[in-house]
């Protein structure tokens, strides 16, 4: 490429034409007078409220606006992260460990067997394991079941549900 073309010399000479574009004679006297008259005529518009001055500052300093937006975004992210990390761990609810294994013994003669799903043969009893039972020991909200004597005061006749297999 032509080095002169590359250095934009001709373009710079052409751009000099723009310097010759001048407003009508006397325009600048009129401009200053109009600015002065507008300021003098509207005394309430002589100063801006603080938020408009702040906004103007952001407008004329893009770097400041950028810094503010980064700071606000960081604060927002920190707040969201903090609120998530501060949430308490879910508490395991339900009967104490070993409650179900001891249950058959506590229930005496009650028989129960666990139903296991066998892909080939369908439902088969699992006799070698301790006979479990399916009893609703918690409510719909997965809260622990109340103690056994909880309902005594209400004189409710409650009995644990027992599910058995076979006829």
């Amino acid at each position: 490429m032509n080095p002169e073309f590359e250095s934009h010399d001709t373009l710079k000479k052409l751009l000099a034409l723009k310097r010759c574009e001048q407003p009508p004679p006397g325009y600048f006297d009129d401009l200053a007078r109009r600015v002065n008259a507008r300021l003098a005529g509207d005394a309430s518009a002589r100063s801006l409220p603080w938020w408009e001055r702040f906004w103007l500052n952001l407008e004329i300093r893009p770097a400041l606006a950028c810094a503010y937006s980064v700071a606000i975004s960081s604060l927002l992210l920190f707040g969201v992260g903090y609120s998530l990390s501060g949430r308490p761990e879910p508490i395991a609810v339900g009967p104490a460990p070993g409650y179900f294994t001891d249950l058959p013994g506590r229930m005496g003669e009650t028989e129960s067997r666990l139903l296991l799903l066998d892909g080939a043969s369908g439902i088969a009893p699992r006799s070698q394991s301790p006979p479990p039972v399916l009893i609703a020991y918690s409510n719909h909200f997965a809260e622990p079941a109340p103690p056994a004597d909880f309902y005594k005061g209400y004189q409710l006749n409650l009995q644990p549900a027992v599910y058995r297999t076979g006829p």
């Binding site: 407003p23 006297d29 007078r33 002589r46 408009e52 001055r53 004329i60």
Partner: protein, 216 residues
Amino acid sequence: MPPRPTPSPPGAPTLPERNAQPQSAPAEDSVLIQRARKGELDAYDDLVRRYQERVYSTVYHMTSNHEDANDLVQEAFIKGFQALKSFKGESSFYTWIYRIAVNRTINFLKQRKNRTHMSLNDLNFNAEHDPDLIALISDRTPRRDASLTELQEKLNAAMLQLSEVHRLVVTLHDIQGLSHEEIARILDCNIGTVRSRLFYARQQLQAHLSDYLKQT
């Protein structure tokens, strides 16, 4: 928006009276700013007169429209007066008012996108007698019949095809003659950014004006 001409408050000296006062050494910007902050409009008027031509020139070359430039410059100076309290003196008043004018112009151009209408000022006497321009038209341009006015229109149309930031650096550097450092201060960016924008803008202009810039 057309300006609202309103009379000066009673007791305030009129502009001819102020101009008629004996001229002493020009006051420092900082002195005028202090007085303007106290509400002295004639101090601010001095500041406006000091910088209006340069600010107008930048805005005009950005918009290629005299009426738009007139409105934008007035708004910029009025905003400047209203926000004088927030002027901390970290930069010169010139840089500060330039920033206000430039940002308002860029916002205006973004809102007015694709609705450009040129209203060009007349070329002054210098254009017809500038040896570089005469040489450019008579010797180097393949279209020798191109008149100065036609060239002016083509040049402005090419300028309007640049993005706002690229047009701005060309205006400030190649038309108004500001240094890279001054432009970086006005745009609140580093000098490398100014240089790269300037180079890219010139490349674009060169492409848009290739018919007028070809070597013979």
